[in-house]
Symmetry: D2
C-alpha cells in the first residue's frame, strides 16, 4: 500500500481547522499526525477528531521529526518565520497566504529557499486549483478568447472581520486576484492603481486597475462589506470573445415574486472544491517530490504587488511594481 | 490512526474503474485492495494503479477473506447473484443499479437480506448524494415550496450505447428518477404511464407520468439520443413556489454570436461530486456499522416500478405499481 | 397620409382597457373611435382618455357604421354571438379568446364565416405574436432542433380569479397552449389527457399530455395558484437539440443572500410586446385586406380540444380529439 | 381626434431610417411628413414608404413651416448647426448624439437655447428610455442597492465601422455611458481616466474609470471590435446589494454541446424598445409642451466629459472634468 504523507498543521483557527477536516475526509494521500495552536483546547479537540497528536509549540512540531510536511495556517505575521523554519528543517510546507505581511518578509522566505537550493514552499492561493479558474486558463490557452485584452474581477464578502483595515483589503483579500490574474494571463503585473469611492475611514470597496507586461488591463473590485453575500467573479475579454466564471449555485428557487439562487455567506462553499483539490495535489506532489502550485516566489511577488497597491491607495496615483530578477530556482 | 476499509471491486469497466479511481484519490476511509474482471488485463492495469491485488474470480474475491466490503460494478445480470453472495459472506456491498434486471431478481436480494436479518446492501443510486438533489430535498423539507404538487424531470444523454433498447431506457436510465423522485417527495410511486413520440423501433425519447401516494404527479422525459449533451433537470413545483436543479457549468463563453455554457458529454462530470460523496459516505458508514443510502428494498422497488413502466409502454396504458409489504428490516 | 383604421371596442374590463390603451399609444394604423361596456362609467372614462365615443350597446356600435373593425373583449359568453354579429355586419373583428365557451358556440362562428365566404375573425391568441414564440417557431422551421419530439409547457399564475373553476383552467388558461403548440409544431393535437394532483374541489394545478398528429408529445402544466408569480415556459425538444423561452427579466438583483430576478405578477408585462405586435399586425392586416393571425377555425379547434381536455379530466382517461374537415375557407 | 405631431427627419442613413420606420409603425402621436438627405434616392424611397415629402435641403425642411418638430440624424458635424437652426426656427428637435463633435459646438447649442430662453432640444441618448436602465434607476431610488459605490459598464460592438477612430470610441460610443451613468446615480462625473491595453494604432478596447461628485466610481469598458456580438452591461454596486441589466435574449438553445443564447449583431435589437419609447415619449412631450429626456445641457456635458476622456487617453493621466455653471434654463 502506498505511503501516506504525515502532515503537521500549525494553526487550528477557521482555515487550519478546515484544512485538517478536508485532509481527513478527502485526501487519502495524507494524514494529519500532529497539530498545534496557541489555543490548546481547540487544538486538542481537532486532534482528537482526526487521531492526531498535539504539539506544544510550532517549533516542537517542526523539530520532532514525526511529520513529513507542514501546513501553516497560523496568524499572518507567523507565516514567514515558520516557513523559514520549515525550510531550515527540510520540510515541504503549504503556507497560507499571505506569505509575508510585507515584501521584506516574503522575500526572506524566497532567500531561504534559494539558499537551501530547494523548493519546499507552496503558497495557499487556492484559486489556482478552482475548476472555474482552471477552465478559464484552459480557454485562454486554447485561444478561445483570442488575445486577452481585459480581465474584470469582482471579489465581494458579506461582512468584514472586525479587524479588517483599509490596507488589509489589498494585502489580505485583493492579493488573491494579484496572484491569480497574472497566472491566468501568464503575464506579470507591472503597474497597479488602487482607489476607493470612500475617501476616509475604512475605505471599502476598493477598485484596482492593473497593467500587465503584455499590455492587458485588469479591473479588480474588492468589497468587504458587500452585504448580500460572498461573490467572486472573473471575466476574461479577448479579441475573439470572452470567458467568465459562473456563480456556483446548484439549486434555483422561485418564490415570493423572485426567481434566483442563494449566494454563499462566505468563501468556504465557493472554494470547497478548490481547497480539496489544492490539498490533494499538494500531498501527492510532496510524495512525488515534484512541487506543485504557487511558489514562494509567486507568494513574494503577490506581496510586492500588494505593497505597491497600498502605496497607490495612500498616494492617489498609479504605482509601478518594482521589478526583481527571478531566482533561477523558480525557472 | 483510523482503520481503513479494505474494499474489493468486481467489474472494472467504465463504472468500476471510476469507482476505483475515486476511492483511491478521494476517500481516505477506504482503500481498494482487490479487483476482479473477466478482462484480466484491464483488471491488472487498474490494480497496479492503486496498489491492489487481482482476484481470479468474483467468488475468489468474496471468499478470500481479504476484503471488508465489496463494490459490484460488473454487468447488470450479475448484480443480484453477486449481491446475494456478498450477503452470504456477510460483506457490506455497494451494488451498482439496477439491483436486478427484473423484480424477481431484485426481490431475491431483499429476501436474502431479510433472511440474514442484516442490511448489507447499498444500491448505487448516486443522485441521492448529489448536492443539488440534497438541496432540493432540504428545500422541500423546510417548506420552501409549500406542498409539492408536481415534479418535472428531464434526463438526456448525448448518444445511446449501441446496445440500448426501448425497455432499457426505463430499466437502466429512467430508474434513476424512479428512485430519486419518491425519495425527494417522501412518497412512493403508485402508478406509472410511459409513452413515446416514436411508435416503433427504438422508442426514444420516452415520457413518463408518475402518480405518487400523496397525489403528487411527476413527469419524466428520458431521451437517450438527445444529441446535444448530457442534461439532467429536476423542478419541484409546490403551492408556495418551486425549486430546481441548476446546470453545473463553471465557465460561460461568449463567442461567435452565442453566449452560453458547455453541456457535459456524459454523466461523469455532472455527477463526479455525487459519486465522491456516495463512496465516502458508504465507506464511513461501513466502518461505523450504520448503513447509509438506498437500501436493497429501495433498489427492489425501483425495479418493480421500472417493470410496471415497461408494461405501460408495451400496453399503452397507465399501470398501477404492485404493492408489497415493506419488510421490517427496512424500517 | 395613410388611412387609419377606425376601431370599436366592446368590453372595457382589464383586457379591453389594455387593448384601448395599447392601440392609442402604440398603433398608428388604428384609432379607437367607439367603445362600449355595460359599465357605462368605465366606458366613458376610457373613451375620454382616447377621444372616442361611447356606444349605448354592442349592437349600436356594430350597426352604427362608424367603425371599420371591431375588438371583442367582453365576457366570454358574448364572444361567439358578437363575432357572428360582426360577420353579419361585414366587420373584421379581433375576438378575445375563447372564441366560444363550448365547441357548438365556436363552431357557430366558423359556420357564419363559411356562409359569408369571407374570413373576418382573428382570435386573440396573442402568443403567436410574442417574439419568444416566434423565435421558437423560426428555430424549428430552420431545423435547429432537428425533428421535434416533445414540447414542455408551463403556465403559472400567481393567484386565480375568485371565479376560477376546475374546468376553466382548461377552457380559459390551458387553451393558450392548446392553440400555440400545434401552431409551433405545425401539427394538430389528436389526443389529450388532463389530470391533477388535486383530486377534489378546485383541481389546480393540472397536467396535460397532448399527442400530436406527427407523433410528438407535449406536456402542459397549468397552475393558477402558483403563488410566486406569472411564469410561462416552453421548451421544444428535438433530435438535434432544444429551444426554449427565456424569462423576460431586464434587471437582476443581488441582495440579502439571493441573486435573481423579479417574476411578473400577471400576464401583462410578460406579454405586453405580444399584445402590441398583435394589435399592430391586426390593424395593418385589416387595412391591407389580408387576414393575419389565428382564424376562427383555430379558435374553434382550440375550444374543441379544450372540451376534450375537460372530458379527460372528468373521466380520468385520455380522450381523442374529434376530427372535423377543415372548411376550404381556411386553406 | 388628437392632433398628431408633424415630424421632419433630416438624415436617412441607418439611424434616421430606423427612426422613420419606428415612428411610422409605433408612434400614433407623430407622423413623418418630410424627410431630407444628401442621398436623394434614399430619402425618396423612405418618404414613399411612409407617405412623406422629400425636402431639397435641411434648411428648406426647417423653414418650410410644414413640420411641427424635427429629428436630426444626419452626420455628426451637422448636429450642432442644425440644432441651432431648429432653435432659431422655434422647432422642437430630437437630435442624435453627440450634440456636438467638441464642447464648443455642443455649447453653442446650449447658448442658443439659453438665448431663446426655451428648451427645444432633446438629445438622443436613448438608454434613458430603455426599460432595463429605467429599472436600475428605480431600484437605486428605492434604496434597493443601498448607497451606490461602484457602477461597472461594458459596451461591446461586434465590428467597428471602417471609419472608427481611437478618439471616436470615446466621443461616439463611450458617450452613452458618460450620459447614462451620471443620470443613474444622479451625480455628475468630476474626473475621467481613459486607457487602453493597445498602445498604438486603433486603441481598442478602452477602459475608463469615472469619479462622480458623490465619490462613486464607475468603470467603463468600450470594445468596438469585440467580435462575438453587441453586448451592453451595467451593474450598480451599493452597500445593500447590486442591480444589473440582464441580456435581452428571448430564446435559449441547447445544441452541439453548448447551451446558450444568441448575442445580437448590433444595437438595434438590443435597444429597439428604447428607441420606440424615446420617440413615443418625445412626440407626446412636444404635443404637451413639456420637454422630456436628455437636454441640450446633458448633451453638452457628455461632450465635455468625452473631450476630457480623449485628453486623458492622449496624456496618460486622469483628467478633471471642467466645471461650468448650469444655466437656470436647465433647472
Amino acid at each position: 500500500m502506498a505511503r501516506r504523507l504525515r502532515v503537521g498543521v500549525i494553526g487550528t483557527g477557521a482555515m487550519g481547522a478546515d484544512h485538517i477536516r478536508t485532509l481527513h475526509r478527502w485526501v487519502p494521500a495524507a494524514r494529519v499526525v500532529a497539530v498545534q495552536d496557541l489555543d490548546v483546547d481547540r487544538a486538542k479537540q481537532l486532534a482528537a477528531d482526526v487521531g492526531a497528536d498535539v504539539a506544544e509549540s510550532a517549533d516542537d512540531l517542526i523539530d520532532a521529526g514525526t511529520v513529513d510536511a507542514l501546513i501553516i495556517a497560523s496568524p499572518d505575521p507567523t507565516h514567514a518565520p515558520l516557513a523559514r523554519a520549515a525550510i531550515a528543517a527540510g520540510l515541504p510546507v503549504l503556507c497560507e497566504k499571505p506569505l509575508g505581511t510585507d515584501p521584506q518578509e516574503s522575500r526572506s522566505v524566497v532567500d531561504a529557499e534559494v539558499a537551501a537550493d530547494r523548493r519546499l514552499v507552496t503558497v495557499g492561493f487556492m484559486r489556482r486549483f478552482d475548476p472555474g479558474y482552471l477552465r478559464l486558463k484552459d480557454a485562454i490557452a486554447a485561444g478561445r478568447v483570442g488575445v486577452p485584452r481585459l480581465v474584470h474581477n469582482v471579489h465581494r464578502n458579506r461582512v468584514g472581520h472586525p479587524s479588517a483595515t483599509t490596507e488589509g483589503i489589498v494585502v489580505n483579500s485583493m492579493i488573491h486576484e494579484l496572484d491569480v490574474v497574472p497566472w491566468l494571463l501568464d503575464s506579470p503585473i507591472v503597474q497597479i492603481e488602487v482607489t476607493s469611492p470612500v475617501a476616509e475611514g475604512f475605505r471599502d470597496p476598493q477598485l484596482a486597475v492593473l497593467r500587465h507586461a503584455n499590455g492587458a488591463l485588469s479591473t479588480v473590485e474588492v468589497f468587504i462589506e458587500a452585504a448580500y453575500g460572498y461573490d467572486v467573479r472573473c471575466e476574461v475579454v479577448g479579441t475573439a470573445g470572452t470567458a467568465a466564471l459562473v456563480p456556483p449555485a446548484v439549486v434555483t428557487h422561485a418564490t415570493g415574486g423572485v426567481a434566483g439562487t442563494e449566494v454563499p455567506a462566505d468563501f468556504r462553499p465557493r472554494f470547497a472544491d478548490a481547497y480539496r483539490l489544492e490539498l490533494g495535489a499538494w500531498a501527492n506532489s510532496v510524495l512525488d517530490g515534484s512541487p506543485v502550485g504557487p511558489t514562494a516566489w509567486d507568494g513574494h511577488r503577490a506581496t510586492v504587488i500588494a505593497a505597491a497597491g497600498v502605496a497607490s491607495l495612500h498616494e492617489g496615483r498609479a504605482v509601478p511594481v518594482p521589478d526583481e530578477p527571478r531566482p533561477s530556482l523558480y525557472g
